[in-house]
Subunit: 442 residues, 3 copies
């Protein structure tokens, strides 16, 4: 019916207009650039650890971190793009509105001071993560919602995500720097829940245009290469924003090994489960995504490379087994349709990652770290509950606040141990740095 189509088009146009005007007004009233993001002129009211955090972001690496968070997006959007060009446009709309809305909601939760939201690099990265979770949710219901419904879901999802993240990270003190729990698992199960609700309201019309020909392969190839190239750094971007912090390379290498193992897992299972000589690119990409989801939480805690290989291998297997056995069950029994299989790619591996992270955090005080002295103590993330942390701005504050003393120590320490590199600097004062003579002595 053309008239209904006209109405639906005008609805979309009107809603977008209203939401954008609303955001602009709210931004005009509440949002200001954080003084810290502009200069070191920190207003004295913002407490200290938050300031230190933001200073960390003024670091050259901030832009890279942000860039990688956005790359996460890009990937997700490409991943959704496999399901027809219409779904791609909807995904980008979700992203564009989700980011603005997340800045506002998370701003009120974390960055609100004296009646203004102080937006800086940190709030941008948090908003990116939030939007990534919403895009994962969108993967479950793609092809069965129109853009208007998707916008309303974004409104709801961003709010729920922020509350969930606030409870998990700030109130319970969970360390989840890569977002195994907050991003991947929340995104997947929020999407599945919405999918379940949608199922009842409108009967299954099966208009999914799954895997549209060669384009699907192109997107899968580009997506997989992106994952291999950018995700290792991405994982670590949210982990350690400071070059001198000790565990940064671990997260990179762990994610990398995990990706490699998940790819082999695809080649192990795919010929058995499906009657194909080589796996399709889409399967390889899904396994790679699963391995990044599993590395979200424990990526920075695994201290031996083979752990990452095992975790990635399991994630790849789980993802493929899920597609083969779990998705049909979900569809027929629980009446949950899962267009992109987010349950297999983000949900299950996210839970696996969270379990693994919790296990590692529990073990952390014990032997694996014990050989490394007090350095090790710092590396144990704030994994257990019961570390309330009132002023937490995003996923990083909890970890940062806990680690800061050690981090500043390692930051200060190498100077004495690298006299050959820092020689010129050393010789400009007259105290030998190794002796750490106090200012004024000499």
């Amino acid at each position: 019916m053309p008239e209904r189509a006209v109405t639906s088009r005008l609805q979309l146009s009107g809603l977008c207009f209203l939401l954008q005007i609303l955001t602009i007004v709210l931004f005009a009233v509440f949002v200001r650039y954080s003084p810290e993001s502009s200069a070191e002129l920190c207003s004295q009211q913002l407490n200290c650890s938050q300031r230190k955090l933001d200073l960390g972001f003024q670091h050259p690496r901030f832009r890279d971190g942000h860039l990688r968070a956005l790359l996460g997006f890009g990937l997700l959007v490409a991943f959704l793009g496999r399901y027809g060009p219409g779904s791609m446009a909807t995904s980008i709309l979700t992203m564009a509105f989700g980011v603005q809305w997340a800045i506002l909601i998370q701003g009120f939760l974390y960055f609100f001071l004296n009646g203004k939201i102080h937006v800086g690099a940190q709030s941008m990265v948090s908003a990116d993560f939030c939007t990534a979770a919403i895009l994962i949710s969108a993967g479950a219901i793609l092809g069965r919602v129109n853009p208007v419904q998707m916008l309303l879901l974004t409104l709801l999802g961003v709010t729920l995500f922020s509350l969930n993240e606030y409870i998990l990270l700030s109130l319970m003190g969970v360390s989840d720097s890569g977002g195994s729990l907050t991003v991947h698992t929340f995104g997947a199960y929020f999407g599945l829940m919405v999918s379940r609700i949608l199922h009842q309201s409108q009967m299954d019309e099966r208009k999914e245009q799954q895997d549209v020909g060669p384009l699907s392969d192109v997107f899968a190839v580009v997506g997989t290469i992106y994952l291999w190239i950018f995700w290792p750094s991405f994982s670590s971007a949210t982990t350690a924003h400071d070059n001198t912090e000790p565990w940064a390379p671990w997260a990179v290498l762990n994610t990398y090994f995990s990706l490699a193992a998940s790819t082999l897992a695809t080649f192990v299972l795919s010929p058995v489960l499906y009657e194909e000589s080589t796996p399709r690119m889409v399967q390889i990409q899904d396994a790679a995504l699963a391995s990044t989801a599993v590395m979200g939480m424990p990526g920075e805690m695994l201290v031996t490379p083979f752990g990452a290989l095992v975790a990635g291998f399991l994630a790849g297997l789980i993802s493929l087994l899920g597609f083969r056995f779990l998705t049909p069950v979900l569809r027929s029994r629980l009446k949950i349709q899962d267009t992109c299989g987010v349950h297999n790619v983000h949900g299950l591996p996210g839970i696996l990652g969270a379990l693994l992270g919790t296990l590692l955090a529990a073990l952390a005080t014990a032997d694996a770290y014990s050989g490394r002295g007090e350095e090790a103590g710092a590396r144990v993330p704030a994994g257990g509950p019961g570390q309330p942390d009132g002023h937490r701005p995003g996923a990083l504050a909890a970890r940062r606040a806990a680690h800061h003393p050690a981090a500043s120590r390692t930051r200060g320490w190498p100077r004495g141990s690298r006299p050959e590199a820092e020689g010129a600097e050393v010789s400009s004062g007259h105290a030998v740095p190794g002796k750490q003579s106090p200012p004024g002595g000499g």
Copy 2:
């Protein structure tokens, strides 16, 4: 006629050979790597501010800045790639020759000393910008020029661009770090002018192969993701090459908000103007490009996020309205064909950005900045005319020269305020850095 085809092929081959040999000879005679780009061994003849500039580029961030300038290219080429594979090859030829030629022309204007052009990182970025403008021009005439004509246009365009940039930035002292005026507006109107001239010489044969099927969508998707991922950092790369400079994060966040708002603008207007339920990816990409053009000049000056939202929203609207109403008028009345719609995507938003930038620069001495003390004074770009700046190497020198005192101050300042981070270093001398005791005193 096969004979004519053979002639045209040999013409292309011969012209490319001649131009490449010419460039090699000119490079051999005139171009040397700048001593500053190899080490701090600065020749005393090159004046001081230029040296400081180049030192800024030796910074780790140079490569990133360069990388982003190239990404701009990549995008433009992908953007042009929508119009058939032949146009893509021509674009890459334009890029490859344009960069070499721009190095020479801009070298003679800015980096010429003692009979040699001193090529460094700065000249590379300038050449990238110049070539980007030529690629924008190419967008207007694509499909109606052959590679030989395109090469000759590149020869002319690079020269005109360099002169225009020299007049605007060096003689008039305009601050245009993101190239709203020099790159986007110049590129668009130079292209349109050439398009008008071509119209008379050869009658409209309408051989445009616009938007070739699914490939067009793939390029639009990849291009849009690229814009979202890389452009925010790209804008700021040309703005502030120093991590400690105060306004770098602003430009990033402003561009980002601008992109988000322009996407919503597409969803507002597209269902009204065109009879489609969702906008096509190409429209979304065009709106995103428009929002980057509008952020070129004011990106670093906007001090409140909602301003970026408004500017991006307007740019998205303008771009779509232009495609709907202006392009047909241009074509029928003014006999200007505009293959890729560069007037809507680069021309109008570039002018809007330049107006906005001028307005902000005019307001800058007034209240918006007044609350920030002398720090703010530094942030006011050299927006007004009348700041001749003889030795300007590229778009940055004017700003750099003006800002340097403040920049060095902010660079020096944090040391005292971050004793916990710099402790080991501090304690190696015996003066407390907060007191800033002069060398030799203590």
Copy 3:
């Protein structure tokens, strides 16, 4: 025959499973994260130069270097992806297993200490390079091997690559930072050798699916843009991991000029050799790849930009001439099929690059560098044989060890020369840094 297909599928699945389990076990037994990669807690047994090397990698730039090494991959995979989706999956399998295996083999050669392989950033980059060589080899035999054969070839190739690299770089002291010789040439000729062997065992069934329609063009376009964007930085990433080292920008600019010239070379030869008005994107990409291969070794040594233009132009010409005249000869006379033309794209340009690099290294002690004093001496790579270097971890150690004194000097030197930038720091001690007073004096 379906039964044979089932067997082949189960073979692949079983072999992948076995190899992955084997790798996990070997990783569990032997591989540990290097203490240096986790913190500066260097175990005293690891000798000094290795530690310095790893410290260099803890630098912010490590991640970028790694990222770029991976980008190299991405490119190669995209390059192989032109030959059908099946070949892409095989390439990714090769990559995923090759990296794990290279970590092990190279670990035993270079990073083995006290019964453990100490994995850090350096070993990852080495493994990336090794896998890149194997992927180049795969380019020669693509479409004629199944995944099982490819896995076995990876086992063999990684081992041979590591031995070859060990002999060239450690025992003979060749400087080959960009891998002209070790990566490009080795990869090409190993692939051609395997191709020759395969030819006899199974008669030419010509099932190559070359250049599959529009997808091939998309991949070529994306690949070319990637090369332009990332390769200049990539070349330099392996060259200089330290921002203060003098020649880093040279390698970037040299690679860039080389890319530009190779593109023009395509436009010069393609209309003459083939009856086409513009070159196909695939040819442009091949020329661009050839120009990166030729810049591998001499990229950091060329001190005048026109040298890079000439080298790139020659590489582009060689690549096209090779495709036109050499590939048919190889196929008919020597019975060597070369699916992707790796001989033209990697083999010949790699040899050209190695010759050029050797020539430059031989000239380096002479006039070209002589004007630059002792700084220049440092820039001469360890080009001649006879510098055994037992503890070499990867391609960098040889150069690093040789350059360190000069590098630390240039690192120390600028402090005195940039008082305006480092003022606050300088004034915190009371010796004027320019005078370089020794520790304890003042």
